[in-house]
Symmetry: C2
Subunit: 273 residues, 2 copies
Amino acid sequence: MTSQRLFDLILERRSYLCVGLDTDPALIPKHLLGEPDPIFAFNKAIIEATRDTCVAYKPNLAFYESQGAAGWESLRKTVELIRLSEHFIIADAKRGDIGNTAQQYARAFFDVLGVDAVTIAPYMGADSVTPFLGHPDKWAVLLVLTSNPGSADFQMLECEGELLHERVLRLAQTWPGAERLMYVIGATHPERFARVRALVPEAFFLVPGVGAQGGDLGALSRAGMNKQCGLLVNSSRGILYASSGTDFADAAGRAARELQAQMDVLLRECLGR
Amino acid sequence: MTSQRLFDLILERRSYLCVGLDTDPALIPKHLLGEPDPIFAFNKAIIEATRDTCVAYKPNLAFYESQGAAGWESLRKTVELIRLSEHFIIADAKRGDIGNTAQQYARAFFDVLGVDAVTIAPYMGADSVTPFLGHPDKWAVLLVLTSNPGSADFQMLECEGELLHERVLRLAQTWPGAERLMYVIGATHPERFARVRALVPEAFFLVPGVGAQGGDLGALSRAGMNKQCGLLVNSSRGILYASSGTDFADAAGRAARELQAQMDVLLRECLGR
């Protein structure tokens, strides 16, 4: 999907919401556990309840891989279902490996699984990221400033005159194919949004950490939005586990609509449209 | 496996070789492609040819995941086969994710797949690593200084008075469960071995980058060995693809025995035993 098409969807749906499919067998409603594929059954209900109010889905691969081969099948069916409507699909894989290994991953995610984007860790440098940047209309979403407490350990270190995450952001833009990069910027660092946006005026940011982790949607949107919106704000647990009962899908739909209503107002406020 | 048991195996087999199972369907001998599971058939022949000359195997997960559900099955069978003899098994996954996601991965690798260790990326900080450190006799192998050209991009940055990879190494040792950490130190940085060994006198290093990438086994062994050996030196392509013909397993066995013979001499030279 092109960034222009993504922006069109944002305007159509009045939403820059990404629903994180962190589907945990230990947290899904008990009545689903009798289904032949409980993870897929849960995802299907969540997707049907939220697809009109979001522009992206982000399955977190850990939750599928931890189920072995069956988990990959749940993931494959989930992606296939999402593709019946029009959404940007991000495989939250946080990969980072070199050369031919990275090529294998790029093929697995873009060609076999059929997603639009993959999250990538930067620690190993250019040759662990650039293999993901050669696929037309496919994206690598680089971890820059994450939303977890551990983000302070290395990402906020002062390195040769700038913070490590700023260095990652600046250097990444010099890599061949950098126009196919998006960046993870956690909502738990509102004071950093204006600065990182100044460093990368055009790119999309994937923003985890609103809801359960406490990020402020209004503040980050005002500081981070660009003229193509440039934000995909993720919510996982706040939507998926809004209720643990048989009404989980209704509750998920309501939680997503609440975020969407706030986004509608913020799009008008920040973009005037 | 305990580090003491690993050291015992090193002395018994006169080897600190780790065979990297980067099994690429595009590179395995053509005559195997008719097998029901060509990847497993290849791995089986490689394992049978090398198991007496190595102490560890390291399947690189990218090569299995890129084959979807079938790849996971090849991996599962490979790990099961390796466990019939006694080897340290490292899932080269380069994961790095937070809290409950990391927990899912730890469970997938240690409990479901049954490996001894998983490689982990440090960029997200403590809470992306510590979930791997609570499993008795299981290990997290932290990426510190990798062997690829991109390792220069961030790992060698000067950060608040030390290089980033040194900071990673020092901080990691303060994390709860740090006694279950090993560290990736690439063979392509021979000038760094004495320094990183001084920072972590006791731990095992997993060392990629000899062979195809040009690292010098003698130099890194002399600078990096500690009194428990403390090194697992990995070779992947140099063993796996020593021949592309029907004699590939014999050629792999020969390549592994050559490294083992050098290691035998180096163990005697550095440890006196």
